[in-house]
């Protein structure tokens, strides 16, 4: 972004305070543009009225993120990468999570390809109200044979609608792949100093995003990017090479830092998303597959934190994938938004007067963890989210946002009457709030049972302790 104050953006707005955008004033809208929660398209007059066309174009130029945004694939599952404006997440937030693509080799047999693609496409992990998912498939032309590659690309495309990366340095092979993935907008990997002309032409011909690759050579990388940009290619991704171990890995890390710093500092010729290849961990001669997988996860972690926008990975072991997807989520969570649900009484399943009553806090991580632990195990219940200003159980007990009075308040506000709405007058409380038990018995005049410390253990606990004796 070339501007950083609402006042600067305000100059380009209609300044009528018409309110169509849902904000009371154009100035308020301008500040939403600056924090990137709104887009210019959210101001109808600016977009519709011809007289603003010039201002709109100028404003969009000023608001464009420092790092170019590139879209891979089509439709709902398209992967958007890049688009960042800052070097540290607390300065704003990072946009567009690092995308995790997993490899498929074209020399695998068809059944194996289908099985692996399904495994990648189906992998999911519930977290804070959503599923963490994997993002795409990188098809490697290991065979070097255009026909084989095209067949593999076709098979992958028939099996999933996840976006694709087509990997080969041979333009003929890439072309065969592009033909097999028509209209899928795959990412082309890669143009290097030897094949750049042919690959660049393919990118133009098929209108697809393309990776420029130069191993540990930032001058060449920038040269390639500049040449492509000059030829009218906008969707460029940078591959500075990812060396898996030793000094080579340190150099790779340094390259990622340098490229991103230069891009954010305004060097537009290198301000593109970066591709990391933790995959190369498998080329480092690490014999034990668990160790190789761990090392791949280590590399993925380094480049999730330091500026990898898209990664090609290999290990689909849950012990590799789970921490990788959680770290991406960690680094890309918007630090500006309080992660809370509304304080209210929620029904999980179809509770009746016999069903148990639980409470938890309205911190999203806490609430969704508890809710999904209960729902997934088919327990029908009443679940009260006490408004603790979005703080988890343990911290809220320590910080005073979770007290017996607060809990009573929450019951009252949600119009839930323990004496009428259920027939047992019992509340099950989080194990980590055990110290509130006495106070709660007084304030709710109900029977209070202390549940387990971790809500994952509620099902087991229920077997022993419910219905309440």
């Amino acid at each position: 972004m070339k501007i950083n104050s609402p006042l600067q953006a305000y100059k380009y707005l209609p300044q009528t305070n018409c309110g169509e955008c849902g904000e009371p004033t154009c100035m308020a809208f301008a500040s939403k543009l600056i924090d990137r929660s709104f887009k210019t398209a959210d101001c109808p007059p600016l977009v519709k009225e011809k007289k603003f066309a010039k201002k709109l174009a100028e404003l969009e130029g000023l608001l464009a993120p420092e790092i170019r945004e590139v879209i891979i694939g089509v439709g709902e599952k398209a992967a958007k990468i890049g688009g960042d404006d800052v070097l540290y997440r607390h300065k704003l937030t990072f946009f567009n999570k690092t995308k995790m693509f997993f490899d498929v080799a074209d020399n695998m047999d068809e059944a194996a390809i289908v099985e692996r693609v399904k495994q990648i496409a189906d992998f999911r992990k519930f977290y804070v109200g959503n599923y963490l998912l994997l993002d795409g498939i990188a098809v490697r032309a290991a065979s070097g044979d255009p026909a084989k590659f095209a067949a593999a690309v076709k098979k992958v495309g028939e099996t999933t609608d996840l976006p694709l990366i087509l990997c080969s340095f041979d333009p003929a092979v890439l072309k065969a792949g592009l033909e097999a993935a028509k209209d899928k907008n795959p990412l082309l990997y890669a143009a290097n100093k030897d094949n750049w002309k042919e690959v660049g032409e393919l990118a133009l011909e098929y209108k697809v995003p393309v990776v420029v690759s130069a191993i540990n050579d930032l001058d060449t990388l920038k040269t390639l990017a500049k040449t492509f940009a000059d030829a009218g290619i906008q969707d460029i991704v940078l591959d500075p090479g990812t060396v898996p171990v030793g000094k080579g890995l340190k150099n790779t890390f340094t390259n990622f830092l340098k490229i991103r710093r230069a891009g954010i500092d305004g060097d537009v010729e290198i301000a593109y998303p970066i591709l990391a290849l933790p995959f190369t961990a498998w080329m480092a001669g690490i014999e034990d597959p668990v160790n190789a997988s761990y090392w791949e996860t280590v590399m993925a972690s380094m480049f999730t934190i330091r500026y990898g926008d898209i990664m090609i990975l290999h290990s689909m072991e849950p012990y590799a994938v789970l921490p990788e997807m959680h770290l991406v989520d960690t680094i890309y969570t918007d630090p500006r938004t309080p992660v809370a649900v509304d304080g209210a009484m929620y029904k999980v399943g179809s509770p009746t007067a016999d069903s148990p009553v639980f409470f938890t806090t309205n911190f999203a991580l806490t609430y969704y963890t508890v809710e999904s632990d209960i729902a997934s195990n088919g327990i029908d219940c009443w679940l009260l989210a006490v408004d603790t200003d979005g703080i988890g159980v343990e911290a809220a007990v320590a910080g005073g946002q979770l007290t017996a009075d607060k809990v009573k308040d929450a019951f009252d506000k949600s119009d839930f009457d323990l004496k009428k709405d259920v027939n047992h007058n019992t509340v099950i409380i989080p194990g980590l709030s055990a110290r509130l038990q006495g106070d709660l018995e007084d304030s709710l005049s109900a029977s209070i049972k202390v549940g387990p410390m971790d809500s994952g253990r509620i099902p087991g606990w229920m077997e022993k302790n419910w219905p309440a004796k």
């Binding site: 540290y88 997440r89 607390h90 490899d103 080799a105 992990k125 519930f126 977290y127 490697r140 032309a141 290991a142 070097g144 990997c167 750049w196 660049g200 032409e201 191993i215 001058d219 040269t223 500049k226 060396v243 030793g246 340190k250 890390f253 340094t254 830092l257 340098k258 230069a262 500092d265 060097d267 290198i270 290849l277 995959f279 498998w282 080329m283 668990v290 761990y294 090392w295 280590v298 972690s301 380094m302 934190i305 072991e317 849950p318 012990y319 789970l322 921490p323 959680h326 770290l327 989520d329 960690t330 680094i331 630090p335 991580l365 999904s372 632990d373 997934s376 195990n377 994952g456 099902p459």
Partner: protein, 436 residues
Amino acid sequence: MAKKMKLTDITNMFSGMDIEALEGVTIEGDIELDLGGLGGGSDPMLAAALGQESAVLAQHFARIAGMFGYPVGIGGPAAAAPAAALAAPKFKDLIPAKFDVANMADWATPIQEVRIGNTSADGGSRGKAVHVGGEKALPFYFDADMPNRNQVTIDVFDMRIGLAKAVKQNYDEVMDSPGEWAKKNVEQFNADMITIHLISTDPLIKDTPAKEAAKTVEEVLQAVDVPIAIGGSGNPQKDPEVLAKAAEVAEGERCLLASASLNLDYAAIAEAALKYDHDVLSWTQLDMNSQKELNRKLMKQCNVPRERIIMDPTTAALGYGLDYAYTNMERIRLAALMGDDELTFPMSSGTTNAWGARESWMVGSPLKEDSDWGPREYRGPIWEIVTGLSLALAGNDLFMMMHPTSVAFLKKATQTLFGSIDEEPVDISNWIAAEV
């Protein structure tokens, strides 16, 4: 197949191709041009396919038009541009570019270097000392070399405690002897330091008297010659007394007393550190301002010299608040480098907290909808590795850890980025065809 055509035809042909760059070129007149040898010049697709030749051709048109005084107004090189837009191949030569980026000018304040452990040269009995801090940039950045590598201290407890299965199987036979436990950590698991946690002193656990707990500290100091950190039970009433007694029996060894915090008598801990020659761990909970406040109090109110302070801004596990812990550390380190001298201290992480995340210890997901989580014995260590490595990148120096595999990987990862691990170079140029 020679064919005659007029320049107007050619203009029309180009304009039909929706080529912006040619718009300025309006050539009129009835000059006849022989396109012989170029194939069917009237077919736009073919013209496009002719590529470079078309560019040359267009240049010719321009020159011819110029000769005849037609309003083209473009010289040779400029004419090439419209022509280049014509055909698919838009590339001629690489456009050379040099990459350059500046170092950070505002990272002007170095982090304090702190020594843990006294060797005989300093009047102690440690075989070596450990140094943390001294950075002038974010960790592993090219702006300035990192003077000291990351260090790992492995936990020892003064009693048998409940541990995740994957952790426990490494320590089961030494868990009743803190000395043996410490030895195993150093000899087999490559610990740079040992942390002895005196948790049995908690009134709600065994209420071991401070004096007796101090004997465990002596036992550990005799069993190993690496520097040690001494932790209490976390009970704010009892910890000051326990740590003071431990500090006394460890006099002159320059241990790290863990921890001074705002909710206990930090002054008593600071006093013990100064009297018996130790360092202080300044622990706050995920709040940069509290961290500043406690550091300020330790320095101004308790007169702890800067070279004896390490901070623990709290570690939350991956998926359990690491976003807070990571950013808290990164902000602290950036503020320090930019001159906030209440924060210019090395940092320590209770990385072991990673074992609190359910993903690291639960047999499987409690949710039926989740994909299979796979064997937990492999999940736990990597959870600890990723939690620690993330914080290493945020600026953490010292890691309190538990699982030997996690220790090994964290060390390898951080020392690789530090630059001290040299391995056979790996040729990655053909990764696409790699056998995996």
